[in-house]
Amino acid sequence: MSGSFTGVFAAAAAETFEPSSWLFDNIWLVPAMPAASFVLILLFGKRFKDHVHWLGIATVGAGLVFSLATAGAWISQYESEQTHHSEEAVDGEIIRVVDAEEDGHAEEGDHEEGIAPRGCNLEENTQDLFASSEYALGAGGLSTVEYAASEEGGEGEGKAEHVKPDPVVNCLNWFEVGSFGSGTEAQGARSLAFSIGTIVDGQSLMLLVVVGIVSFLVHVYSSEYVKGDRRYVHYYAFLSLFTASILFMGLATSTLQLIVGWELVGVCSFALIGHWWEEKPNSDAALKAFLTNRVGDIGLLVGMIVLFFGAGQSFDILTINHAAVSGEMSQTSMTVASLCLLTAVMSKSGQFILHTWLPDAMAGPTPVSALIHAATMVVAGIYMVGRLYPVFWEGMNIPGSSFNALAFVGALTTVGGGALAFVQRDIKKILAYSTVSQLGYMVLALGVGAWTAAMFHLFTHAFFKGCLFLGAGSLSHACHHSFDIKSEMGGLRTKMPVTFATFMIASLALAGLFPFAGFWSKDEILVGTGGFPGTDANGTYTVLLIMGLIAAAMTAGYMTRAIWLIFFGEYRGHVQPHESPRVMTIPLVILAALSVLTGFLNFPEDWFGGLGERYGLKFEQWVEPGGGDTFHVIGHGDSNLLLAVVASLLAIGSAVFVWSYYQRLYAKDATATEYTDGLASRSRIARAGHVFLEQKYFLDIIYTDIIVGGIKGPVARMANWINQNVIDAVVNFAGTSSTAVGRFVYRFIDQGTIDGAVNLSGTSASESGQVLRRVQTGRIRQYASLMFGAATLLAAVFILVV
């Protein structure tokens, strides 16, 4: 591996050094650095002891800088191509075919024939096309393929046409294995090359930046938060490994690599949720998280396999996308695959009905929740759908429709999760359900065709939800490690001003109020449903728009409840709360700042007059791939001021309602947190609803008691029973019956023998299992007689027959 990469260095040094392409080609360093940190911590962690966090902070920081630099290079390339394009606009079309040989990266091979926009395994599904091509990746070979995607940007009339830079793919042949079918090489069977590599485009860089920033801040924050923990070193080791895995997954060029990264983050999540494994609830939560994700992984594996064959035996993501866009892949394959992959999304990204692990995952340390269970890992499902979007686009039949499974699951989750957040009293659980709800938003966005909106919400959500989680950590740090907002908090706004301010900002962003980040991203999703008159998106998902609006209102409501109970009213705890140290508050401030600012990355073009023309929709331009060979042309809804106003009014109204509810309660009793004679106690229906919510729709009972309990209990016991009493019984019966036959023969020869029978019955009564001991009575004479008799009979038979 390293050999080929040093080869790249040499090659890069030989020619004129171009920083951006160097960055694009060596993006693998970003996950490699935290991975190295993991190894170092594993090997030497004990020596660093309490300073081990510096290792993690340094590597993740370096990775962040690298990612930011690459993102900068990407943006500058984009911007320069716009000018380039406007100069050469006469040509109308630019297709760049970068010869790999010229780049000095590839092995010999004639690419003059042109390179179709595919991924690493060029020769795989284009066997006929490239029958004479010598283009093959030898083991360990490395090649750079730059894509020639059509520059077609939006389809909207009057919008500026944008030239999108092509993704830069570097890959490395991981291994080759025999093909499928029973053909030989001569009969046209080919061996399959499995490759790993890095893909640099807007989407992957976006994830890299998000992960880099949040992970860096969490590393810093944790150095105070988990200080003196019993397993400080392990904590940082897994934090590093997690960062490396998610970055590895983000850069995946093949679905196989995606699966690897996907599973690795799952394991890190398992280890970190169960960080304090001495207590059983923590390890239970870790197990639940892992197993629920495994259920989804069935879908992932099967879906990826279907795609593999659908795309003509390739794991390469761009090849698969190309097959989906060009229609090479059958509709059945795409539908089956997208439904299977939806299961994976449901588990990893906490979608209804597989979301139940996510709230339980809060058993882990709070910074872990911020990093893994809010900002990064749980969005892996969203990211995966985004990566394979053409498959979903076709498989789910997204454009021009008004309903599909993906959008429905998202909508259900966003409303269902939001409702559950109302009845929690643990602040982390509130945030967890809020995360579930917001992830539902993203899935909804993907389901209705608003790709950019989903990615943008992923981007902004990471910051404000990260901020909220770290804020919750700060609160618990102050309040004796408790997260109970009813019994341990209240009136903290004066005691913890920084935490309060940042928490407020992040909550406003979450609630989607102008001008915070959430406003912009949420608005885009609502626009993207196309349900609102005049938005003109990919379809008309009216029902889903309504559900989205309901969820928006709920978000504001439950966050108001949480904020009131935490920061207003009287303090109800037993310790002296104090503001957290700077190491913890500075990350909070940075994230809060990002929660405000990031929203402006993608404000609509028709807002703020000329500013919108010039600086609007930057996120879309940078991140969204251009329509072309590997990506569909996606419509973008026109932003609508009225929709934004309606959504905001709903949110504000809900917040005001909740606020007044608690204000009246406060007026009645300063330390009360709920009405003793509330609606739930007066109305039977309301009470039933409350119980229904408190029991989390009874899903946990179904899973834990009925499904898992059933399998582990009766079903497994039955399997074991069958093993012992049926299969083994058959075996034992064969033993017993042959012994019985033997005994019969023995008695026949030896009628008068009482002794043997006594012997036999004695042994058989006591040693039922030891079947074969029965004939072993130890009497030499009996053996000899039997032997002679048997031999004689055998001889007689032999003589008579032969």
Binding site: Q776, G778, I780, R781, S785
Partner: protein, 99 residues
């Protein structure tokens, strides 16, 4: 003179020897019965040697006699050992092979 009469005699001796081995309790008697069996075999060897005019029959009979001598020597030693250890040479009690 028929070859068969010698062979039948040998068979009779052999079967009697087997009977002795199977029914005798006394170790020394078992050994004697074994000698009887060996003698039966020897008769066969010599009879066939004579019948075919081949000296090999006699030679093998001689070998068997020698081996029998060795066998009796070791066998008796074992019987003595059993006797010394268990104060009995009843082979029916020698059921150590019982699993």
């Amino acid at each position: 003179m028929l070859l068969n009469q010698y062979l039948l005699l040998a068979a009779a001796l052999f079967v009697i020897g087997v009977f002795g081995v199977l029914t005798r309790r006394n170790g020394v008697l078992v050994l004697m019965s074994v000698e009887l069996i060996l003698n039966a075999v020897n008769i066969n060897l010599v009879a066939f040697g004579t019948f075919h005019g081949d000296i090999a029959g006699q030679v093998f009979a001689l070998f068997v006699i020698a081996v029998a001598a060795a066998e009796v020597g070791v066998g008796l030693a074992i019987v003595l050992l059993i006797y010394r250890n268990r104060r009995s040479i009843d082979v029916a009690e020698a059921n150590l092979m019982k699993g």
